[in-house]
Symmetry: C2
Subunit: 688 residues, 2 copies
């Protein structure tokens, strides 16, 4: 076993002593305090400000690009003012403000009250507060009494961020003392609606529990079985033996800490990791072997619309980033639980509702993993095999949004490929259903429990700089050749490239093998003369099902197309718009794309959509096995050959695998090892 | 490091002493010799038979099913005669025969000469022989002279299995002594055509090397750069540190050897692994927690049609299983090169062209791998996280078919899911192209080297037995609800199930989220009353591009549909038909499906297609980074809850990860470990 010391020693963590703060570095605790002081100074001293987000106001790209290029080439660094973006309410009011503080000049550059229909996300403080309100409200208590619930079994609410419609659940009465009892298995039909200003229960809805919209009042509670997930309440399976990932010499990557941001270097890759309240982890200035690839990559938005058309469920549509925040919801990752191997954790500083710095430990983990065989070929004439493994670098963050979990990871490999993987897990959002009832918009996953169909539609924002900052979007299609003297057997086919001229939404077409590429037309491959490019691999998914007149459709401005392509503008980061909570649409990527800007050899920005239509299975309860979705970007005529051809061969001397049983016919492990790559290349590997 | 002894000891390899041979066990060396003797006895003693395949004639399912059920339930085993299937030529003739030997009765039950247009696959003997013929032919030597190649640089041929059209390449003259020099980087324009009967060069084609069909005769060889892949000719990258998978207590699976077949048990899974010349590995009698899932699973066929419409390339379309064989082409897997961790290898016995047993060592490897997080949920109120990892069992085989490699693996997990993954790697099939020429049906991947577009279309045969042997195929679609009083906001949607009534070819439709399920309508889920089922996840791909009148289309009888569904018949295993070499179509799954059999609650068999349209990138040369395709089958209302909910929690005590650097804020590794699952469940994991 490697010891911690060896491995710690093996990770060169350099702290640069540069006095200036990097313009893309997340804001520090000091900067939070500085910005908050400047904002508070504008108000009477006794004003109680309720802060919603305090985050880096990223510099205009026109400022940042010269900076990172000077930095990369070791030239003098231009000066860039440091700015903080901030949203806040006057507490207990609907007076919502947006402010930008310039810390360099110590000036409040911008501070306005926002108009109607612009609402901040919920924060943890509010959620707990509204739980209390919903439970303690006398009218709610009265109705709960009518159910004659056993003692001590009532639980909190599950927040619906848009409506603050509270869904009530109860704990298993047989296990009422267990705070981690799975209350989603015991939903109640009473649903208080809370006004966020007055903080009062303004209405109590009763949920439809049949096959139609009929609502019956509170009925006597019936005994229901529990469906727990915590391990001590399971009969755990046996026979699983440990599988450890051991890196005796530590990790192959290095981290350079620059204040609040970190530069990662690994196997010719180099990039900067940032973190903020809304997007969580952000990848900046991503290069391979010194060549520009991506200026910025981050999850931009996510929408989860539900299928139940009945009141009050028809309002159920969540934007987990805009309504809550992938940063503020990030898990504190635990060693040995969330990853295997030698792990480096990144922590972050966000802000709480009072404007105080909030420590967010271990919100990102960085580690390597084995991705299986990277490439292999055996010369059947000599029997010699050449094989390398595909080592991957994983930059991962996990968020909890009430019932659901998302495990998100950027993955880099030795063939110059970048992947972005999302694993959806956690607990289904459930509602009560009468015995014996089936509905076509959901699945009964437990007695009396309905899990409604819903879509998960993600949007990854990619700001490319493929060998430079002026790129174009093109797509290739593979098309059959018409029969002719040139194609006498009707077997020929060819590819045709189309340039995407203007900003807009574009779709995949698998029947044509339509493949989108980010291309730099000014840089040609020295061997085949083709423009350098990266192609986008994204899985097929069903787009937004709600009709085009619906609020669901209008608000999720990314959910109808595989790809949105726009010309870069500062401050256009979030596909669903800046404020998704009760948004009305018109402020997101569909609207930006409608400008019909020319995007040929311009500063191109892409929003890549992917997702799943989650038709619940009973196997998805009480916690669903991870559903995995992955998109990747791969070089196309960007290099001069397979960039992983220089990866050292996969050998037993390096990998130290173990042979089980005596059936193995190639002699002992030791016999195989001669320290060179030849270990894999000695015998005829095919009987050809 | 775990030592080999510990791990060997830890794999209980039981050898059952049962005298009778299992009816699904591959044939043994003795059985091969016995069958060959019986066949030879039919012919004059001096007859030279050229054997093509000697393999198990699987028992009729009507016989096999009662046997495996009796076996599973410990009842008396019915007797089943043991049969061998055999194909052979009278050597040096076109007299191709098919025979079935009953070893139990020692009778030759069937022995016929096959009609025209039925040809055997090539075998290794022939390939080497035809290489020699092509090179040594005086006319070829003459033409080669005209090229004025440097000494010692001419190389063998790359076989085109259909035409025996030989493509010539040369070794790098600067490295002529290196037998593993990558000759695919130096293709020649001379292409001899060999007659398989007379074994003569009947014609020498000259390849078109321009943008049209024009053929110039042999031209003086021009100096070209090499493009080698072997490690000693690379400047290898540095900085990659070892990553070892260590299983200190050995593997979690057990193997029971029953003569030539092996029963694998792992984490509630149980199945039998077979192996044959054509399909390679076969999974039989696959059960989870004692419940029937799949009677038989194996790769059925594969087609690789090329896009170049010109002579002679328009005939280039390979069936790597039917024209060669996934079993006979299987790599001898090497410890530490092809997998990490604790590996168990299976070996097999096939036959050579003389009918002698052929030892095939380590053609299948079985090992566990970590599949990342299996499921996770954090209760944001208590901060307690529950998390398990997804351990997978991998049953893998790797084949080399001349230039290409395929890495194939069945993957089983703890959530009752089965995956089948194919990784395409190896070397592109190349041809010469003139300098400065671009063609839309291929990519220049090296000076003077064209890699033509081509499709890889795979067909996985799945013979299900979901809770019994009578299953149906259905599909769900997610459809928007029309606006109405019931759906006032246009947000509602529902799923609709359609039963597939008759055998045929069926397609996915991602715009409808169309999802196919294998269903047992007679067995209902005890909780929600839905029929138990397994759903099929398959990625979108472009179907066969060649037109419907082309030989390519007619021969690849599976390449036009995502799924073919048929009613089971004995001997219908290969989607492209029994003899794909120069086949004319009409003998594969499209023809069987045309019977329009009712397949509702019948003995259903599915052929699942998946693939890639490979538009070569320069990054795919000299060896392409693995292109990964995966399909999976997942339970839908088959269990009563997440079947992986009983997996022990992921803990540091079990996983022994290592923390890098001092930045980590959760204390030391030791501090985290308390031996229980609580290590992951102690602090607030979200700042909600």
């Amino acid at each position: 076993m490697a010891t911690e010391n060896i491995s710690s020693a093996s990770l060169p963590v350099r702290t640069t002593k540069q006095s200036i703060i990097h313009p893309l570095a997340p804001i520090s605790a000091n900067e939070i305090e500085g910005a908050v002081a400047i904002i508070k100074f504008q108000w009477p001293t006794d004003t109680d400000l309720h802060f919603k987000a305090i985050t880096l106001q990223e510099p205009a790209k026109a400022e940042a690009v010269p900076y990172i290029e000077a930095e990369f080439h070791g030239a003098d660094l231009p000066h860039i003012d440091r700015r903080v973006f901030c949203t806040y309410y006057l507490r207990q009011t609907d007076k919502f403000h947006e402010a930008v503080v310039n810390l360099t000049t110590q000036a409040l550059e911008y501070n306005v009250r926002l108009g109607p229909n612009q609402h901040a996300p919920l924060d943890g403080q509010e959620i707990l507060e509204f739980e209390k309100i919903a439970i303690e409200d006398p009218k709610v208590q009265e109705e709960l009494k009518e159910l004659q619930l056993p003692e001590g079994s009532s639980d909190g609410v599950d927040d619906d961020r848009r409506m603050l419609q509270a869904f009530l659940y109860m704990r298993d009465p047989a296990n009422a003392g267990e705070a981690d009892s799975n209350h989603y298995a015991l939903p109640l039909s009473i649903s208080p609606v809370i006004c966020t200003d007055t903080k009062e229960v303004i209405r109590i809805d009763h949920l439809p529990t049949g096959k139609d919209s009929t609502v019956t009042g509170p009925r006597l509670w019936q005994q229901r079985p529990a469906n727990e997930y915590i391990p001590e309440l399971q009969e755990l399976r046996t026979g699983l033996k440990p599988l450890n990932v051991v890196q005796p010499e530590g990790a192959s990557f290095s981290i350079t800490e620059q204040g609040t941001s970190n530069v990662v270097e690994w196997q010719k890759w180099q990039f900067r990791v940032g973190f903020n309240q809304r997007e969580g982890m952000v990848i900046y200035d991503c290069r391979y072997d010194g060549r520009n690839l991506f200026y910025r990559m981050a999850l931009s938005d996510m929408n989860i619309p539900y299928a139940d058309p009945r009141q009050p469920f028809l309002r159920k549509s969540a934007f987990d980033l805009g309504d809550a925040g992938a940063g503020i919801m990030a898990n504190d990752l635990k060693l040995g639980c969330d990853c295997l191997g030698s792990i480096h954790y990144l922590s972050a500083t966000l802000a709480d509702d009072k404007g105080n710095p909030l420590d967010m430990p271990n919100v990102v983990c960085i580690h390597e993993q084995d991705g299986g065989i990277g490439w292999k070929h055996t010369n059947f004439r000599t029997g010699r095999a050449a094989v390398v493994r595909n080592r991957e670098l994983v930059v991962q963050s996990i968020i909890t949004v009430a019932n659901y979990e998302y495990i998100m990871a950027f993955m880099f490999n030795q063939a110059g490929e970048v992947g972005y993987e999302v694993r959806a897990t956690g607990i289904l959002s459930t509602q009560p259903i009468d015995d014996g009832v089936e509905v076509p918009w959901g699945t009964v996953v437990h007695p009396g429990v309905l899990a409604t169909h819903h879509q998960h539609i993600f949007s990854l924002r990619v700001d490319p700089m493929i060998d430079g900052y002026e790129n174009r979007l093109v797509y290739d299609e593979a098309l059959p050749m018409p029969r002719s003297d040139f194609n006498p057997h009707g077997t020929g086919y060819y590819t045709q490239e189309t340039v995407v001229e203007t900003s807009g939404g574009y779709d995949l077409d698998f029947d044509k093998n339509r493949t989108f590429k980010i291309q730099n037309s000014a840089v040609k491959n020295p061997i085949n003369g083709k423009p350098v490019a990266y192609k986008i691999h994204a899985p097929a998914f069903q787009k937004m099902l709600a009709d085009t007149e619906s609020f669901n459709y209008k608000r999720a401005e990314f959910a109808d197309k595989n790809i949105y392509a726009v010309k870069y503008r500062d401050d256009e980061l979030y596909a669903g718009g800046k404020y998704t909570n009760q948004s009305r649409g018109g402020s997101g990527v569909r609207s930006w794309a409608a400008r019909k800007d020319s995007i040929v050899d311009e500063d191109l920005v892409l929003f890549l959509q992917f997702g799943i239509n989650h038709i619940p299975r009973i196997e998805d309860f009480p916690i669903m096995p991870c559903e995995i979705i992955k998109i990747s970007m791969k070089p196309v005529n960007f290099f001069e050959r397979n960039p992983a051809i220089d990866v050292p061969p996969s050998t037993q001397a390096f990998n130290k695998s173990v042979q089980l049983s005596e059936q193995h016919r190639q002699g002992t492990v030791e016999g195989d090892v001669n320290g060179s790559g030849d270990v894999c290349c000695t015998t005829t590997s095919s009987k050809l």
